[in-house]
C-alpha cells in the first residue's frame, strides 16, 4: 500500500484559515479521515508548530507572507496544501512559487481533500528523496573532480604517469586510513599554497 495512505492516521495537520464554517468543515473532514488536526488563526510571526502537512489560505496579506517565510525556513519536511479563493495571476504565481503539493478551492467541501492530501504527501516525499539523491551525486562528482586534479598535480610535479599518480594517492590513503578524497584535498590545498 502507498505509504502516504497507510500512514495517514499518523499525520499531524495544521490549518491556517480564518475561523469560520468552512474552516470547521475542513477540520471536521480531516478528523473523519483520522488525522491529528490543529487550526490556528491568526498565525503568529516566527511560530510554526510541528506539522507534517500544512493547509494554508493564500491571500495577498501580511499573514500569508509571514507563513510562507516560516515554511521556507522549515524546508522540504513540511507538505504544503494551498487553499485558494481567487484565480488571479498574482495568487496563482504565489501558490506555484510556494511549491504547494496540491490545492483546495473555496468553497471547501469534504470530497477531494483526502486525495489532495495524499497526492501532496507523495509528491513531497518524492521531492525529498530526489533532493537527497542529487546531494549524494554532487558529493560524488566533487570527489571525481578532486581526484582528477590531484592526479594531474602529481603528474606535473613528479613526472609520473596517471596510473602511478593514482596508485600513490591510493596507497597513501590506505596507510593513513583515510578516504582517497581526503588525500586528494590535501594535495590540492598544498598545491594552492606552494604552487606557482
Amino acid at each position: 500500500m502507498l505509504k502516504a495512505l497507510r500512514d495517514i492516521r499518523d499525520v499531524r495537520v495544521v490549518v491556517f484559515h480564518p475561523k469560520d464554517r468552512e474552516c470547521d468543515e475542513l477540520v471536521a473532514q480531516l478528523r473523519r479521515i483520522g488525522c491529528q488536526v490543529e487550526a490556528i488563526w491568526p498565525p503568529r510571526e516566527g511560530l510554526l508548530p510541528l506539522a507534517d502537512v500544512v493547509f494554508m489560505l493564500f491571500r495577498q496579506d501580511g499573514f500569508t507572507h509571514v507563513l510562507l517565510k516560516a515554511l521556507a525556513e522549515r524546508g522540504p519536511d513540511v507538505t504544503l496544501v494551498g487553499i485558494v479563493e481567487f484565480e488571479s495571476p498574482a495568487v496563482i504565481e504565489a501558490v506555484a512559487r510556494a511549491g504547494v503539493g496540491a490545492i483546495v478551492t473555496k468553497p471547501i467541501r469534504a470530497f477531494g481533500l483526502l486525495t489532495s492530501m495524499v497526492v501532496a504527501q507523495t509528491l513531497s516525499t518524492r521531492e525529498k528523496s530526489l533532493l537527497d539523491r542529487i546531494r549524494k551525486l554532487e558529493d560524488k562528482l566533487g570527489g571525481f573532480r578532486r581526484l582528477e586534479k590531484a592526479k594531474s598535480i602529481l603528474m606535473t610535479r613528479k613526472g609520473w604517469s596517471e596510473k602511478e599518480a593514482y596508485e600513490a594517492i591510493r596507497s597513501r590513503a590506505m596507510s593513513a586510513r583515510v578516504a582517497m578524497d581526503v588525500v586528494c584535498s590535501t594535495i590540492i590545498d598544498a598545491e594552492e599554497l606552494t604552487g606557482p
Partner: protein, 389 residues
C-alpha cells in the same frame, strides 16, 4: 426550496429504487420496506400531523436515470426527502443533486466508505463494520487461501483491497482477484468457477451483485466447489437466496448487519408487518431493513425538528437512538454514518442461521484505510457472542 415545513400540506418522500434491471429484485424489497415505514408513520398520525406521501419511478438500475429522477422528485413532485439507492454509482449520481438543492438523501445500503456529504445520511455498513469480523471468522476457522470474485465497480474493488490486506497480515494467501461486469454472462462466470475448482482455495470471497450472483452460486454448486471451499459474501442476502433453488448456497457465509433470523421483538414486529403487507412468502434482508429503519428515523426526526433541513435532522438523529430490527442504532454526529451490529450467518435449510454477532453496536469509521493490524485484535467491549458453530 426543500427546507420549508408547511403543516397544511403533505410531506412528499421520493423513493429512489429500480423496479426493473439486474438489481431490481433487491431494490424492490427496499422499496416495500420504505413504503411499510411510511404507512406505519401515517397510521401513527404522520409527521407532526402531516401525511407522508411517497413518490417513486422505475430507475432501471441506471445511474443517469437515478440522477434525473432525483431532480424530478425534488423539482416537480416537491419531495423534500429522498430515500433509496443500492449500488454506489447510483448514490454518487444522486449526491450532487441533493447538494445543489440543499435536500437530503437517506442512503439505504452498505457501501465501501470514503464519502461524506452534509446532505446524505448513510444508513448501511462500511467495511470496518463487517469485513474485519468476516476475515477474523474465516481465518479463525483455518482459512488460509482466498479467491476473490466481484462485480467490477467501486464496492467490490475496495472490499477486496481490505480483504487482501487482512489476509496478508495473517500470513494467508490471495490466489486470485477476478471481476465481472454487472450483466455477466454464464460463460464468463463459468471460466472463473473452473479456475476456482482447479485452485481449490479455502475461501471464495464473493462480492458479485445482481442476478449474476445467483448464477455464480449455481455454477459453484454444479462444479462441486463446496466440497473444500467456503463461499463468503457481504452481498448475498435473503433476496439472493430467494432466487436460488433450495440447497444451492448451503453452508456458505454472509456478513451483514441484519438477517431475517435476528431474534428481537422489533424484528418479529417488522417481519410480521412486512409479510402481512406484501405476502407471507416474502423474505427480509439487510438492505430492506436499512431502508425501513432509515425511513422511520428520518421521518421521526423531521417530526421532532419540524423541519426537513439536513443539518437539523442530523443533529436530532445523533441524539436519538432508534430501536431497529437489527438492534438499537444511531447516527454518528461526526461522519453521518450509523452505529450498527455486525453479524455473520451461515446458510442452513435455505435460511441464514446467525453464527456470530457483535455484543454492541460498532461505530462507523468510513475513512479507515489500514484495517490491520491494530484493529484486528481489538474485540468489541464485551466479547462477541458465539451463537453457534
Amino acid at each position: 426550496m426543500a427546507a420549508t415545513f408547511d403543516l397544511d400540506r403533505p410531506l412528499i418522500v421520493g423513493a429512489l429504487y429500480s423496479q426493473t434491471g439486474p438489481t431490481a429484485f433487491v431494490e424492490r424489497t427496499q422499496y416495500n420496506a420504505t413504503l411499510l415505514a411510511i404507512e406505519e408513520v401515517n397510521a401513527a398520525g404522520g409527521v407532526a400531523g402531516r401525511e407522508v406521501v411517497p413518490v417513486t419511478y422505475d430507475a432501471h438500475s441506471d445511474p443517469a436515470r437515478f440522477s434525473q429522477l432525483a431532480e424530478r422528485m425534488i423539482d416537480e413532485d416537491g419531495a423534500s426527502l429522498l430515500v433509496g439507492c443500492y449500488m454506489t454509482n447510483t448514490r454518487q449520481a444522486v449526491v450532487p443533486v441533493v447538494e445543489r438543492r440543499g435536500a437530503l438523501l437517506a442512503y439505504a445500503a452498505p457501501y465501501e466508505g470514503f464519502e461524506y456529504s452534509p446532505n446524505v445520511i448513510y444508513g448501511g455498513a462500511v467495511p470496518s463494520q463487517h469485513i474485519v469480523m468476516l476475515a477474523r471468522h474465516l481465518m479463525g476457522a483455518g482459512g488460509k487461501s482466498f479467491y476473490l470474485v466481484g462485480t467490477r465497480y467501486t464496492f467490490p474493488i475496495e472490499c477486496n483491497r481490505v480483504m487482501m490486506t487482512l489476509v496478508a497480515e495473517r500470513n494467508g494467501q490471495t490466489l486470485a482477484e477476478r471481476y465481472v461486469p454487472l450483466d455477466a454472462q454464464r460463460r464468463e462466470l463459468d471460466q472463473i468457477v473452473q479456475d476456482i475448482r482447479a485452485k481449490r482455495p479455502d475461501v471464495v470471497f464473493c462480492t458479485v451483485v445482481g442476478e449474476a450472483a445467483t448464477v455464480f452460486y449455481e455454477l459453484c454448486a454444479e462444479a462441486g466447489v463446496a466440497a473444500h471451499t467456503t463461499i463468503a459474501s457481504l452481498t448475498i442476502t435473503e433476496a439472493e437466496l430467494g432466487l436460488m433453488p433450495p440447497g444451492l448456497a448451503e453452508g456458505h457465509l454472509t456478513a451483514a448487519t441484519y438477517f431475517q433470523s435476528v431474534s428481537s421483538a422489533a424484528n418479529w414486529r417488522f417481519v410480521r408487518s412486512y409479510q402481512a403487507r406484501f405476502g407471507l412468502q416474502e423474505r427480509l434482508n439487510a438492505m430492506a431493513e436499512t431502508a425501513y429503519s432509515l425511513t422511520h428515523m428520518v421521518l421521526a426526526a423531521a417530526g421532532r425538528a419540524r423541519s426537513v433541513e439536513a443539518s437539523l435532522l442530523r443533529e436530532d438523529l445523533a441524539a436519538t437512538p432508534f430501536q431497529a430490527p437489527q438492534g438499537e442504532i444511531r447516527l454518528d454526529a461526526e461522519n453521518g454514518h450509523m452505529h450498527l451490529w455486525p453479524r455473520i450467518a451461515r446458510v442452513q435449510a435455505n435460511d441464514f442461521r446467525i453464527v456470530e454477532e457483535s455484543a454492541a453496536p460498532v461505530k462507523p469509521d468510513p475513512y479507515l484505510i489500514n484495517h490491520a493490524p491494530p484493529e484486528w485484535d481489538i474485540r468489541p467491549p464485551a466479547p462477541a457472542r458465539a451463537v453457534g458453530v
